[in-house]
Symmetry: C2
Subunit: 192 residues, 2 copies
DNA sequence: CGTTTGCTTGAATTCTGTCAAAGCAGGTGG
DNA sequence: CCACCTGCTTTGACAGAATTCAAGCAAACG
């Protein structure tokens, strides 16, 4: 159940059996079905979720009600609104399962307690947030400095598995395009 | 010299005189003139800079050589490419002073040593990276979900001091617009 | 005082979004 | 198991918005 999570963990930080047991006692497992929400806009984000199986997305709605996807998360990825999770402010994001999924959850109490009690967990979390920061910086950089076509090509180059599992309208939303424009870009690229 | 830095520090984490002395021994001060570089694209980012006086910006160049500004940093802010700083990979960003500035620098050795030796520093750095993450998330969200006009209005609402000290072409670059388009947006807003 | 740099404005162009329609595919319920 | 329905993708025509190119003007700088 928690195997993939601890595989990810020990890939970054070594872990004794005792400490693993301590950490595991603070975690929980949640199954979530396609189209169900893990977080809804206007609520506080109370968990950090590790994706053991399935796929999720986080998005925000603009003033016209249109969705803008911030992130996809497949197996082995984390998803959360760390801002809301850490500050307790309400979130402006929604996190939704795009496939039936199985998650390992860390709630806010577990997060704070484990930071105090487990040095390995502390080291792991620092790496996790650093990794989230780096991923976000890359996302912002490509968003502001590449053309729509370049953004699409980079996405299929870096994450071909995501494009296969996610509908084109979601890819379009992630890239900041309408589905129509993405369809035309794909046609142009297919005709070389 | 280091006063403003430690003021910022103790605003987040309490600090004994001994620990302050230890930390200070690892820091250095650098003066940098307008238009000089703190980091150039293609080099490794070797420092995290705290702005004691002045203003800087970080930007990246796209395939057509156009600049896209990622961040401004005024007094009391940090600026760096944390990705390059932490991983040792070369940076795709340039950091440039836009005013004569005075900086407090932390290099990579100091960063690692202080993490080992100073618990307060460790706690401070965790908050710093978390803060950087949160700022980046806000930046990305406004970039992908607001119109150019909304982005401009939010910027002058949140950071009126930045708009006053930075040229309009830089504001335009930060907002992802040409200077001409920003000029037209300002005209529309002035005519209500 | 001359040169450079930044801001504004206009006109033409290009790209993306919008609206609409049609074909397909997958899922659901009878 | 099949018919239907809903949502996704594609395509076309059109409108709208931003970029590009060009010029003029003001302010800053050496």
């Amino acid at each position: 159940m928690y195997d993939r999570f601890f595989q990810h963990f020990t890939g970054k930080v070594p872990l004794s059996a005792d400490e693993r047991a301590l950490i595991q006692s603070f975690l929980s497992v949640k199954k979530i079905r396609k189209k169900q929400y893990l977080l809804q806009e206007g609520n506080v984000c109370t968990v950090v979720a590790f994706v053991d199986e399935g796929a999720l997305r986080s998005y925000t709605n603009d003033s016209e009600g249109k969705e803008h996807i911030l992130q996809f998360a497949l197996e082995g990825w984390f998803i959360s609104d760390l801002y809301s999770f850490l500050t307790g402010e309400v979130s402006s994001y929604t996190i939704e399962a795009i496939e039936d999924s199985e998650l390992v959850l860390i709630n806010q109490l577990a997060y704070q307690e484990l930071l105090k009690r487990s040095p390995s967990y502390q080291a792991y979390m620092l790496q996790l947030i650093t990794g989230a920061y780096i991923a976000l910086q890359k996302r912002l950089t490509t968003t502001i400095s590449l053309s729509p076509e370049e953004r699409y090509q980079q996405l299929i180059g870096l994450y071909p598995n995501i494009v296969q599992r996610v509908s084109q309208r979601m890819v379009a939303s992630y890239l900041g395009l309408t589905p129509e424009t993405l369809s035309r870009i794909r046609r142009r690229l297919a005709h070389e």
